[in-house]
C-alpha cells in the first residue's frame, strides 16, 4: 500500500509539473498583459517600467524559472489587479466552489442511485421507461437553461429563493440543483446499466441459491461489484465540476473560484490563472488517487493492498 501510494504521489507531481508548464507556455503565447493592464494614455517608457515591475520584460525562460521557483515555495506571484498574493486570493474562493460541487454531486447521487437501482430491479416496467424518458430530457437540457428557468420560477415568480449571492446555504440550493439536474439523469442510467449487468452474473444466482433474501442478494452481492464503474464516474464528475461551474457561478453570482478565474482570464492576470490551474489540476489528481484507492477497497482483484 505505501509503495503504491508513493508511486502515485510521484506521478501526481510529474502530472502537475507538466500541466503548469503547458499552461505557462500557452498563456504567454496568447497575449500581452501589459496591453490590457496599462491605461491608454501610458507612454512606452511607462509601459516598459510596468513590465519590468511585473517581471514581464525578462526572457521567457527566466520568467519560467522564477515561476517554477515560486511554485516550489507555494508562491505564485501577486495578482496584477488586486496587488495581493494570487494563491491565497484564489484559495479564499475555493470553499464556495467546493460546497457547490459537493451539494450538486451529493444531490445527484442521492436521487440518481435509488432511481437507478429501482429501474434495474424492474427493467422495462412503466417506471423504468418513464425514468429513461426523463433521463433523456435531463441529459439534453443545457445548464444555463435550467438555471434561468429556476430563477424565473423560484425568484421572479414566487420569490422563495434568492437569485444571486453567496454565503448562506439558501444561496446554494438553486445552483446545486442546476448542476445536479443533468447528473441525476446520468447517474440513474449508469447505476441501472451497471446493476443490470451485475444482476445477470452467475454469482448472483449462487447468492439466490443459498437462500438469501432478494434484498440481501441485491445489496450485498450485486451492488458492490456494480459500484466499480460508479466510483470512477463519480470521481471524474467531481473533478470536472470542480473546474466546470463557471456558467452556474456566473448565473447565480456566486463568489466561487471559477468565476474569479474567468475574470482573471479576461484581464490576463497570469498569477491568478496559474494558481487556478494548479488548484484545479491538483484536485483532479487527488480525486484520481482517491478513486484508485477505493477501487482496491471495493474489488480485491484490483488488490494493490497486497
Amino acid at each position: 500500500m505505501t509503495g503504491f501510494l508513493f508511486a502515485r504521489l510521484l506521478r501526481a507531481i510529474v502530472t502537475l509539473w507538466a500541466v503548469l508548464t503547458l499552461v505557462f507556455v500557452l498563456i504567454h503565447a496568447t497575449g500581452n498583459p501589459i496591453a490590457v493592464l496599462a491605461p491608454e494614455q501610458m507612454d512606452a517608457a511607462q509601459r516598459a517600467a510596468l513590465a519590468a515591475a511585473l517581471g514581464l520584460n525578462k526572457p521567457l525562460l527566466v520568467q519560467y524559472g522564477v515561476f517554477m521557483g515560486g511554485v516550489l515555495h507555494g508562491n505564485l506571484g501577486v495578482s496584477y489587479y488586486s496587488n495581493t498574493p494570487a494563491m491565497p486570493l484564489l484559495l479564499s474562493r475555493v470553499p464556495v466552489t467546493l460546497e457547490l460541487v459537493g451539494l450538486a454531486i451529493g444531490t445527484a447521487v442521492a436521487i440518481g442511485m435509488p432511481f437507478g437501482v429501482f429501474a434495474a430491479l424492474h427493467p422495462d416496467s412503466l417506471a423504468d421507461r418513464a425514468l429513461r424518458g426523463l433521463s433523456v430530457l435531463g441529459a439534453s437540457v443545457p445548464t444555463f437553461f435550467v438555471g434561468i428557468v429556476l430563477i424565473f420560477v423560484f425568484s421572479v415568480l414566487t420569490n422563495v429563493l434568492p437569485a444571486s449571492g453567496g454565503g448562506n446555504i439558501v444561496h446554494f440550493i438553486m445552483p446545486a440543483i442546476t448542476l445536479a439536474f443533468f447528473r441525476i439523469a446520468f447517474f440513474t442510467r449508469l447505476v441501472r446499466s451497471s446493476l443490470l449487468d451485475s444482476l445477470s452474473q452467475q454469482y448472483v444466482r449462487t447468492a439466490r441459491a443459498k437462500g438469501l433474501s432478494e434484498a440481501m442478494v441485491v445489496l450485498k452481492h450485486a451492488l458492490r461489484p456494480a459500484a466499480l464503474p460508479l466510483v470512477t464516474v463519480f470521481g471524474l464528475q467531481f473533478g470536472q465540476l470542480f473546474a466546470g461551474t463557471v456558467i452556474t457561478e456566473t448565473i447565480f453570482a456566486l463568489p466561487g473560484m471559477n468565476r474569479m478565474a474567468l475574470e482573471a482570464l479576461f484581464r490576463l492576470d497570469y498569477p491568478i490563472i496559474l494558481s487556478y490551474v494548479l488548484v484545479a489540476a491538483g484536485m483532479f489528481v487527488f480525486i484520481n488517487l482517491v478513486t484508485d484507492v477505493l477501487y482496491g477497497v471495493i474489488d480485491p482483484r484490483v488488490g494493490h493492498a497486497r
Binding site: 449462487t206 443459498k210 471495493i298
Partner: protein, 334 residues
Amino acid sequence: MLLSINDLSVRFATAAGTADAVASLSFAIEEGETLAIVGESGSGKSVSALAIMGLVPNPPGRVTSGQIVFRRRNGSTEDLLRASSARLRDIRGNEIAMVFQEPLAALSPVFTIGEQIAESLRLHQRKSHADAMRMAVRMLGSLGISEPEMRARSYPHQISGGMAQRVMIAMAMACRPRLLIADEPTTALDVTIQAEILSLIRQMKEETGMAVLFITHNLGVVAQIADRVAVMYAGRLVEEGPTKQIFSSPRMPYTSGLLASVPRLVTDDSPLVLSAIPGEPPSPLAHPRGCAFHPRCRYAVKGLCDTTPPPLRDLGNGQAARCLRIDEIVGGAT
C-alpha cells in the same frame, strides 16, 4: 420419496417466439439416491434443475405447469412451485443445495472464500460470524484443501478452477442438504480434476446420506456416479431406468445413439469406431411433430413417428422409454 416432479413445463419467451424448454417432465428421486439427467445442450436438463431451485430466470422463463414436491427434514412435504418465497428461501441452500458448472464465475469476486461458505451457515443455522468462519475452515479441510485457514482468506481469483469447485461443494454442503443438485460440475475442469471432484461428491454422499441430482452430458461420468439415469431430449424425458440396465439394454434409439458415441478404449485387433448421431438437436422454438427425435432416428417410419407423439412406456423392470417402435427394435437399437 424425497423429491417428485410432476408434469413440469417451463417456457421461455424469446424474440423469435416461445420455446418449450421443458415439456411435462415427471421424475422422482429417492432418499440417498443419485439420479443422473443426461442430454445434449438445450435438452432442458439445466432448466429442470433451476426450476427445482426456483431460479428459472423470469423474464424470459416461466414455469407454466406442474408440481415439484419435496419432503423436508421435519417430514412435511412442500410443493416448491407454490411455496411462499420465505419458505423457499428456508429450503434453498439449506435442504437443497446446488453446485454450478463454472465455479469461478459462480463465486462472488468480492468476498473471501471463507465468508462465502460461512454465509450459508449464518443464514440457515444462525451461527455467529466467528463460529461460521471456523466451520467454513473445517469444511475446507475436510474437502482436502491444504492450509484451509489461509485458503479461507483467499479470494476466488487467487485459486484454480478445481479448487473453486471444491469451494462450491463446501458451500453447498455447509448446511448438510438432503438433496444436492450438481449441474455439470466437472464440465469446465481438467480431466484429472474431474475424477477428484466426482469422488469428492461420492464421499460427501456417503458421509451424509444425501441424494444427488447429477446433470451431465458425459456418459462416462454417469457410469461412475449414478444409481439411475434419466435421458432428456427436446425438453422431454425419453428414457429412464437403473444405470446398469440403461447401459446394457437401452430401449430408445436416442439413448442407444448416445451410448454408441462414447469413445472407448479398444483392443489391438478391433478398430476404434466412433459413431455420432446424425443431425443436430432441434431448436426449442420448433420441436418436430410426432416424436421429437424422428428426423435423426434411423428407425423412424414415415406416417407414424412424424405424426404421433410417443408416450412414455413403463417397461415393468424399473425402466421406461418413449418410442413407438419399442417392441420391434428390442435389443437391436445400436
